[in-house]
Amino acid sequence: MNYWPLLGILIVVAGFALRLNPMLVVTVAALATGLLHGLDLAAVISTFGKAFNDNRIIEIVWIVLPVIGVLERFGLQQRAAAVIRRMKSATTGRILLFYMLYRQLSAAVGLQSTAGHPQMVRPLVAPMALAAAEREHGALDEATAERVKSFAAATDNVGLFFGEDIFLAIGSIVLIQQILMSDGYNLPPLQLALWAIPSAVAAFVVHGTRLLLLDRSLKGRAR
C-alpha cells in the first residue's frame, strides 16, 4: 500500500498549526496528496478543480447576507442589544443564561451576526454582568471581575457553536453533507440539522448550570 498520500494530512495539520494562510495550506495539501498518489501535475490540478466545482453548493449559504446586511442598516443589531438590555435587573448568572438562550436561538434561525464579541459582549453583556455582580456583592476584586468577563465571552462561544448547526444553511452543515456525498452518502440538510438539537440542549443544560453556580460562587466570595 502507498502510504505517502498521508503527508497531505500532515501538511494540513502543520499548516494550520503554523498559522499559514488556510486557503494556501489547503491548496498545497490537495496538490501534494494527488502528486504523492501518483498523478501528474495537470491531473492533480484537474482533480482539485473538479472537486472545487462539485462543491459550489456550499457558497449558497451566503445568499442570506443581503437580507441581514440591509436589516442592519435599519438597526437590527441595536434591536438585538435592546432585547438583551431587558435583563438589566437580573443576577450575573441569569443575565448570562438569558444571553446564552438568545445566542442559541438566534443562531439556530440564521441570525448569528446579530450578536458576537465585538458587537454584543464587549459593549453590553460583559458590562451588564459586571454591574449585576457589583450591585449584589459590592466592589469585585480583579480576579473575580476577570472571571465574570471570561464567562461572558465563553457564553457567547458556547451559545453560537451549539446553536448555529440547527440552522439548515450554515457552512458546517453543507460541508458535512458534501464530504459524506463524496463517499456516496447523499443526506438532506434537515436530517443533519436535527442531529444538532440534542447537543444544543445538552450545552444549554451544562453551561447554564455553570452560570447559575457562578452566582453562588460570587455570593461565597462576597462574605
Binding site: 494530512i9 496528496t33 498518489h37 490540478i45 482533480t47 472545487f52 437580507v67 440591509v70 459582549v121 444553511a169
Partner: protein, 316 residues
C-alpha cells in the same frame, strides 16, 4: 423544474455585485484583490461547468494565490450608529420578522414539500429543495424589506458586501476544505488510515472507535484551531471507512455530531484565536487564555455527551 443551477446563477450575480462594489471602493487599498477574488468566484458560479476541470483547477489556484498572498482586505466602512439607533427605536422588534422569513420558508417549505403531495409535482431538483426554498425565502424577505422599509435599490447588495468583506476569503474556506476531502477520498487516504485504525483499535469495539473519532475531532481541532479543517481528515480516516461502512453507523449522526465534537475542541484551544484570544483582548483580560480556561469545564462534559450520543443513538 427549478434546479440548483438557478441558484448558482443567483449567487454568481451576487458575487459579481460584490466584485463591482469592491472594485469601486476607493477607501480600500486592496480593492483590486477583492474585486479579482469575487470576480473569480462569480465566474465559478456562472461557468464552472463549462470551463473544464483544468480550468476550474486554475481558478482555485488563482483564489488561493490572491487570498494566500494577502491581497484581500477591507475598506473603511461608514456606519452611522446614531441613525441606526433611532431607526431601531422606530421599527422595534418587528425588524426581526423579515430575517425570520428566510428560515421559516426553508423549514416549512421543506417539510411541506417532503411530506405532502406537493412534492410529487416535481417543482424542485430532488434532495436540493431546502436550498432552493432558502433562496426563495431570501427573495420573499427582500420583497418584504423593499415594501416596508423602502431601502435604496442596491442597498441589499451593498450591505451584503460589507458583511462579506468582514468575512473575506474565509467565506470560501469550507468549499476548499470539501474539495480537499474529495481529493483525500480519491487518493485513498481514508482507506489507508482506516486500515491502520482498525488494526490498532480492537476489532469489534464500537465504543472505542466512536471515542477515538470524537476525541480525534476535538484534538485535531485544537491543533489546527478549526473544526472545519479537522472534519475532512477525521471523516476520511475513521468516520466514513470504520464507523459508517464498517459498523453501519448512521451517516447523519457521525457527520453532524462529529462536527460538534470538533466544536468542543474549538472551545479548548488558543489556536482558535477569533473565538478565544480576540475576546480576551477586547475585554482587556490580563490572562489571554482566561476564556479558554473557563470553557474547558463546559467543553469536556459536552465532548463526552457527543461521543455517547453517537454510540447510543447513532447505530439505529
Amino acid at each position: 423544474m427549478i434546479t440548483i443551477q438557478w441558484l448558482y446563477v443567483l449567487v454568481g450575480l451576487m458575487f459579481a455585485g460584490f466584485a463591482a462594489f469592491n472594485g469601486l471602493d476607493r477607501t480600500n487599498p486592496k480593492r483590486l484583490g477583492n474585486a479579482a477574488f469575487w470576480g473569480l468566484m462569480a465566474l465559478s458560479m456562472f461557468a464552472g461547468d463549462r470551463i473544464g476541470d483544468f480550468g476550474n483547477g486554475l481558478l482555485v489556484l488563482g483564489l488561493a494565490g490572491i487570498a494566500g498572498f494577502g491581497l484581500v482586505g477591507r475598506g473603511a466602512a461608514v456606519v452611522d450608529t446614531q441613525e441606526r439607533e433611532a431607526r431601531a427605536l422606530r421599527f422595534g422588534d418587528r425588524l426581526f420578522l423579515p430575517a425570520l422569513i428566510v428560515p421559516a420558508t426553508a423549514l416549512l417549505g421543506t417539510l411541506i414539500y417532503s411530506y405532502t403531495p406537493v412534492g410529487r409535482l416535481g417543482w424542485f431538483e430532488p434532495k436540493r429543495e431546502t436550498y432552493i426554498l432558502l433562496a426563495l425565502g431570501v427573495i420573499l424577505a427582500l420583497a418584504t424589506i423593499y415594501a416596508w422599509l423602502k431601502p435604496p435599490a442596491l442597498a441589499p447588495l451593498q450591505d451584503g458586501r460589507r458583511l462579506m468583506d468582514s468575512i473575506g476569503w474565509a467565506a470560501v474556506l469550507p468549499q476548499a476544505l470539501a474539495a480537499l476531502g474529495a481529493v483525500f477520498a480519491a487518493a485513498g487516504v481514508g482507506d489507508i488510515v482506516g486500515a491502520a485504525a482498525t488494526s490498532v483499535i480492537p476489532h469489534g469495539s464500537v465504543f472505542l472507535t466512536v471515542a477515538v473519532f470524537g476525541i480525534g475531532m476535538a484534538l485535531f481541532t485544537m491543533i489546527m484551531g478549526n473544526a472545519f479543517a479537522a472534519f475532512p481528515v477525521m471523516a476520511a480516516a475513521i468516520g466514513i471507512p470504520v464507523l459508517i461502512r464498517g459498523y453501519g453507523a448512521n451517516p447523519a449522526a457521525v457527520g453532524a455530531v462529529g462536527m460538534l465534537a470538533g466544536f468542543c475542541g474549538t472551545l479548548m484551544t488558543p489556536m482558535a484565536a477569533n473565538f478565544n484570544l480576540v475576546p480576551a483582548a477586547l475585554l482587556e483580560l490580563r490572562d489571554q487564555n482566561a476564556v479558554v480556561k473557563v470553557q474547558v469545564a463546559t467543553a469536556l462534559p459536552l465532548l463526552l455527551f457527543n461521543i455517547m450520543l453517537i454510540y447510543l443513538a447513532g447505530f439505529q
